[in-house]
């Protein structure tokens, strides 16, 4: 067992070391594409960390991404970069804590709708604040950060997220989340403080999403609420995680990579019908691959057809 862990660990380290050389290739297009790939990998993995075990479908990805991006737009010029990231993470965690405490008692579809509404609410708040208090609608992002810097930061974040996810899965908190996902009533009767467990993981996941938004912000030179809070991100991340399979730590990346490439292609070729295509892809995934790509890999070693069926039903 520990030999296997060491094996996977050194493989992962080697992969990261190799990936760190991408900016050295000197190809701006590949670098931009790699940034997108990492961005969605982290977002989808973070989404799956919470939604995989609990089966709560969150559409709040955009909200946290936007909070991160806007923090940079406001503070990026004034404060040193590490401090900006720290403040962004703290803000994201705070919003997530408040939202989690007030919504994680909701179940199923109410939670989905609330998280979607939350994004809109935060965006409107930002718009209101900018128009009435700061008297601007957009902001220029003047920070001294190159595309390569963005890439390296995302790569480090990717590594951190997988390490964190692995540690959580092995922890008592990770096990608690799985029990909650199976049966919340039973979880409570097993002595699990379900509210705490859910809010904790929701906050961890949201903090990571906020950091992605903050790291990505310098990519735009100009930010306004509709750019930072683009709800398409929530849907894309959801689709990626579902395609890959959110019940495994390594599942969402299997969806994030092919779909980022596909979306890149589609949004360039069919900018007007992109949303419709996105919807169709979503339907196909839900019907054809209810357990995602990760589910395909598991089929061989699946304990029984019956279990698989039950979980998919």
């Amino acid at each position: 067992m520990s030999a296997r862990i060491a094996g996977i660990g050194s493989l992962a380290l080697a992969a990261i070391a190799l990936l760190a050389f991408v900016p050295r290739l000197g190809n701006a297009y590949y670098l931009a594409l790699s940034i997108s790939l990492l961005q969605y990998t982290v977002l989808a993995t973070a989404w799956g960390m919470f939604s995989g075990p609990t089966r709560y479908v969150s559409l709040a990805t955009t909200a946290f991404f936007g909070v991160g991006a806007y923090t940079v737009a406001v503070l990026g010029e004034i404060l040193p970069w590490p401090l900006v990231l720290l403040i962004a993470a703290a803000l994201g965690a705070m919003v997530a804590g408040v939202v989690g405490l007030s919504t994680l008692r909701l179940s199923g579809v109410y939670f989905v709708i609330f998280t979607f509404g939350l994004t809109e609410l935060i965006r409107q708040l930002v718009v209101w604040f900018e128009v009435n208090k700061s008297r601007v609608l957009g902001r220029y992002v003047f920070v001294n950060i190159t595309q390569a810097d963005i890439y390296w930061q995302l790569l480090a974040l990717t590594a951190a997220v997988f390490l964190l996810g692995w540690l959580i899965a092995r922890s008592r908190l990770g096990f608690a989340l799985r029990v909650i996902g199976e049966d919340e009533t039973v979880a409570k009767h097993c002595g699990i403080n379900t509210t705490f467990a859910k809010v904790a993981l929701f906050t961890i996941s949201a903090t990571i999403m906020t950091l992605v938004g903050a790291i990505m912000a310098p990519r735009w030179t100009y930010i306004e609420p509709s750019i930072a809070f683009n709800s398409m991100i929530s849907f894309q991340v959801l689709i990626m995680a579902l395609l890959g399979g959110a019940h495994r730590l390594w599942g969402p990346v299997l969806g994030a990579i092919p779909l980022t490439l596909l979306f890149e292609l589609l949004s360039a070729r069919f900018p007007n019908t992109f949303t419709i295509i996105l919807g169709c892809i979503f339907l196909v995934i839900v019907y054809m691959l209810p357990r995602g790509v990760a589910g395909l890999f598991e089929r061989r070693s699946a304990p029984s057809a019956k279990t698989t069926q039950r979980v998919t039903a």
Partner: protein
């Protein structure tokens, strides 16, 4: 029984819970002494499951107190009550279908303090599997188990927490005669471990074999209480059951 001097494991007083206009549990009161098996009887819809839900924190009482080892737990969150030593099974069996038998039992003990070491936990899980008759099913997904084995697994999960008080909601229902005999022996053996039990049951042979005392509910109210043999021959009890469940199984 509480006249023995010790604090009762469970003491319920003036417990009430209504759903809209329907008073499912009405001014319910009783005590259960250490090591006792108390039968909670009554026709369908008389409020037995609701009473268990109030004790285990699934529902909040409208009024009344519930003391577990002297501490009032009425209205506490389920997880707090569970950590204070109350475990239960459900009338409709609830096991964690996506997990194997070992993990199901681990769920029962992983969140109890003090935490066991991994090695201790694994030993305990193995012992519990054997105790409920699931030895060798360690890696079996709970979803693949037969009905009786699901019941066994659910009981093992409840026992994993080393409860002081165990609430069993029709745990023996639906078992065939030989399974029933095994089940009765199993529950009896729990008493020997010092576990106090409240047994909601329709199977009268089991009630006679296991319960020291019984209370009988009808339309949310307690209509009889006493030694099992006396209660089962009580005229009011027989009347409450008429048209409901057969008086003997």
């Amino acid at each position: 029984m509480s006249s023995d001097g010790g604090t009762p494991v469970l003491a319920v007083n003036g417990l009430r819970r209504a759903f809209g206009g329907l008073v499912a549990v009405n001014d319910l009161g009783f005590e259960v002494a250490l090591g006792e098996i108390m039968g909670l009887l009554g026709p369908n819809g008389s409020g037995k499951t609701t009473a268990l839900n109030l004790m285990s924190g699934v529902l909040r009482p409208d009024a009344g107190t519930i003391r577990l080892m002297g501490q009032d737990i009425a209205g506490l969150a389920s997880y707090r009550i569970a950590r204070l030593g109350l475990a239960r099974t459900f009338q409709l069996v609830r096991v964690l279908d996506g997990m194997d038998c070992r993990e199901n039992i681990r769920a029962g003990l992983a969140f109890q303090k003090p935490h066991l070491t991994a090695a201790e936990a694994e030993l305990r899980i193995g012992a519990l599997l054997a105790r409920v008759g699931l030895a060798g099913h360690d890696q079996r997904p709970a979803a693949d188990l037969t009905y009786i084995d699901r019941k066994r697994l659910e009981l093992a999960r409840a026992l994993a927490a080393k409860p002081r008080l165990l609430l069993l909601d029709e745990w023996l229902a639906g078992l065939n005669p030989s399974e029933l005999a095994i089940g009765i022996d199993l529950i009896r053996s729990l008493r020997a471990d010092g576990i106090t039990i409240v047994l909601v049951e329709h199977v009268m042979s089991a009630v006679r074999a296991l319960c020291d005392r019984c209370i009988v509910m009808s339309s949310g109210r307690k209509i009889a209480e006493g030694l099992t043999a006396d209660v089962l021959s009580d005229a009011a009890v027989v009347k409450a059951y008429l048209g409901g469940v057969a008086a003997d199984a």
